[in-house]
């Protein structure tokens, strides 16, 4: 515990990251309670400046921007987290199988992984999103993870191969402990630090992809999302070219930038916490 505190105090940026991330998590959890209904248009309040009533002002239809940001947070974080989780699960399972189940499985899985690594993931995600036609958040998370697990699978595989070459695996097998048990007791714990760090990285790319799909307008606007706001701000509403509507343009941008900053800085802290080199120095 003392060490963890030290890791945070050594770099204040890490603290900033955790605070930012927590802020958005709180928004995502309590947002639906604060604003259970979609923001109401108000033709008398188009592009109103920030005020006590409208914290971040209003949009082209007179809807409260803050309310939309809060509602968007839930959708963005939920889908992004789910997508990152799927990515981690697929990548870990494929990597473990390839590294642990012998050369035949390894060869087949790595050919497939190579193919997924070669295909441009954003383009594949977009094509999938368009053809499947999004119906719900879980499908969206699945699409986001479908094209992005390759790197993790490759990394996990090479780590498994290197762990397998260390003799403690041989010793455990030699003691008559079954392979699957060795996998969970000896191999997986050594990978956990990397998997945790990669979860954070995967989170940034699923945020990227999810908001991007809405921004491009390739999926139906069936949810309050920062990408939808950004799409309207840069597109039809003409907010780009009007000084009045600056808040409508800046708010989603700021939300995305702050969320990604929060994730990146937190992952720096997580990295320092789980880094085996630091642990050995303890």
């Amino acid at each position: 515990m003392k060490n963890i505190w030290k890791i945070f105090t050594r770099r204040p940026s890490r603290m900033v990251g955790v605070v930012l991330l927590l802020f958005f998590i709180v928004l995502a959890i309590f947002g639906p309670i604060m604003y259970p209904h979609p923001a109401v248009p108000n033709p008398n309040q188009i592009y109103a400046p920030p005020s006590w009533a409208h914290f971040l002002g209003t949009d082209y239809a007179g809807r409260d921007i803050w309310e939309q940001i809060v509602q968007g947070a839930q959708n963005v974080l939920y889908v992004a987290f789910l997508g990152a989780l799927f990515t981690i699960i697929i990548g870990t399972v494929v990597g473990l199988a390839a590294g642990y189940l012998g050369p035949v499985v390894d060869n087949i899985l790595m050919r497939i992984t190579d193919m997924f690594l070669t295909i441009p993931s954003i383009a594949l995600t977009i094509i999938l999103a368009v053809t499947i036609g999004l119906s719900n958040n879980i499908v969206m998370a699945g699409i986001l993870s479908f094209a992005s697990w390759g790197g993790l699978a490759r990394a996990i595989r090479s780590m498994v191969l290197s762990i397998k070459s260390r003799s403690f695996i041989e010793v455990s097998l030699g003691l008559g402990i079954p392979r699957w048990r060795v996998l969970f007791r000896d191999v997986l714990p050594n990978l956990m630090p990397y998997i945790v760090v990669h979860l954070m990285l995967a989170l940034t790319s699923t945020v990227y992809g999810e908001v991007g799909l809405f921004f491009l307008g390739v999926v139906p606007f069936n949810a309050a999302n920062w990408g939808v706001m950004l799409n309207y701000a840069t597109g039809g509403s003409g907010a780009m070219y009007s000084t009045q509507s600056l808040m409508f343009l800046i708010s989603p941008i700021l939300a995305i930038v702050l969320l990604q900053t929060g994730i990146v800085l937190t992952s720096d802290a997580v990295n320092a916490i789980v880094d085996p080199r630091l642990r050995e120095a303890k």
Binding site: L117, T118, P120, A123, V257, D268
Partner: protein, 326 residues
């Protein structure tokens, strides 16, 4: 040489597999391109027979035909170098659209790749040499954040600042309306002027991964025994730096694959935002209009580019690093 042939053959197979998968992916999903056009034509008031004939003549394919037959036709076309015709711009061959768009993207992405690579490794070396100081922390965090911020956000922000607020750079297009494309100075200058914002976006979103990778390899190499040995051998500072530099940069070449993929993918967002007439823009437009043959073509081309670049990077790497004997 043997290796080159093997790589090329496996790459061709890979391209073919990817193309096949996209073909089936798109055809098996509800709302196939032929049905879409077919229904569009019906909506325009054609009879069923008329619509079917129209689809056949435009897309060179028969709707409601078994997918497997469509696939064979498509393969035959592919080997004749045809990717079918666009639906949105009715009748225009996809290959023509792509070849019009490709040069713009190729130039901007390549420039973005190299500039981000050089800035990235420069920052990486600085961060590694000032390890554990606030400078290194700042560079690392800034790079990771720049990398994590989506390209469309960066693009919108740059466009707003440099076009809307400061009126420094143009908002759209690849060259001014007064110049003629070709090898002439006004065109080249105009192109470069229009290129600044897109390339700048590629650089900002791309350099983070190079910085982090370079920092990691530089630190590893600095701690390698041979660097310590080289110092004790009293080698000149410049020699030490070249030892450090080459040994740190070499492993980064393998990262070309992922980063090229990411850049070509990112071009959808960047070119759409800047209305830059490249592949990304074409792809984005094709998506909006559900122009499946164009989507397919862009996707196939992007994948092929990445595979080719990958082979080149691999060959270069095995030439540069003597440890790769294979």
């Amino acid at each position: 040489m043997n290796k080159l042939i093997r790589r090329v053959v496996t790459s061709l197979i890979l391209i073919f597999v990817v193309a096949t998968l996209t073909f089936f992916l798109i055809r098996l999903m509800p709302g196939s391109p032929y049905e879409v056009l077919y229904h569009q034509l019906l909506m325009k008031g054609m009879s069923q027979q008329q619509a079917a004939d129209q689809v056949r003549s435009l897309l060179n394919a028969t709707p409601n035909e078994p997918v497997i037959l469509q696939y064979f036709q498509w393969v035959v076309q592919l080997f004749h170098g045809s990717l079918g015709n666009s639906i949105a711009q009715t009748g225009v061959p996809v290959t023509q659209l792509i070849f019009n768009a490709l040069p713009w993207t190729l130039v901007t992405v390549t420039m973005g790749l190299f500039i981000s690579f050089f800035i990235g490794i420069f920052l990486g070396v600085i961060s590694a040499s000032k390890r554990n100081s606030w400078v290194s922390g700042l560079i690392d965090n800034a790079s990771s954040i720049a990398h994590a911020i989506p390209a469309y956000v960066t693009a919108v922000a740059l466009l707003y600042l440099f076009n809307v607020v400061w009126h420094v750079f143009p908002s759209s297009g690849a060259y001014g309306i007064t110049v003629y494309p070709g090898v002439n100075l006004p065109f080249i200058l105009s192109f470069m002027y229009h290129m600044v914002l897109p390339v700048g976006t590629y650089v900002l979103t791309g350099l983070g991964s190079w910085e982090l990778a370079m920092k990691a390899t530089t630190i590893t190499v600095t701690n390698d025994d041979f660097m310590m040995a080289a110092r004790l051998r009293g080698l000149r500072h410049s020699t030490l730096m070249s030892y450090l530099g080459w040994n740190s940069i070499l492993p980064l070449f393998t990262g070309f694959m992922l980063s090229l993929g990411a850049m070509f993918g990112g071009s959808v967002f960047i070119e759409s935002t800047y209305s830059f007439p490249g592949i990304g823009n074409l792809f984005g437009a094709a998506i909006t209009s559900r122009d499946y043959p164009v989507m397919e073509g862009c996707f196939l081309l992007t994948t092929t580019t990445i595979i080719v670049a990958n082979v080149v990077a691999d060959l270069m790497y095995s030439k540069l690093d003597p440890r790769i004997v294979d």
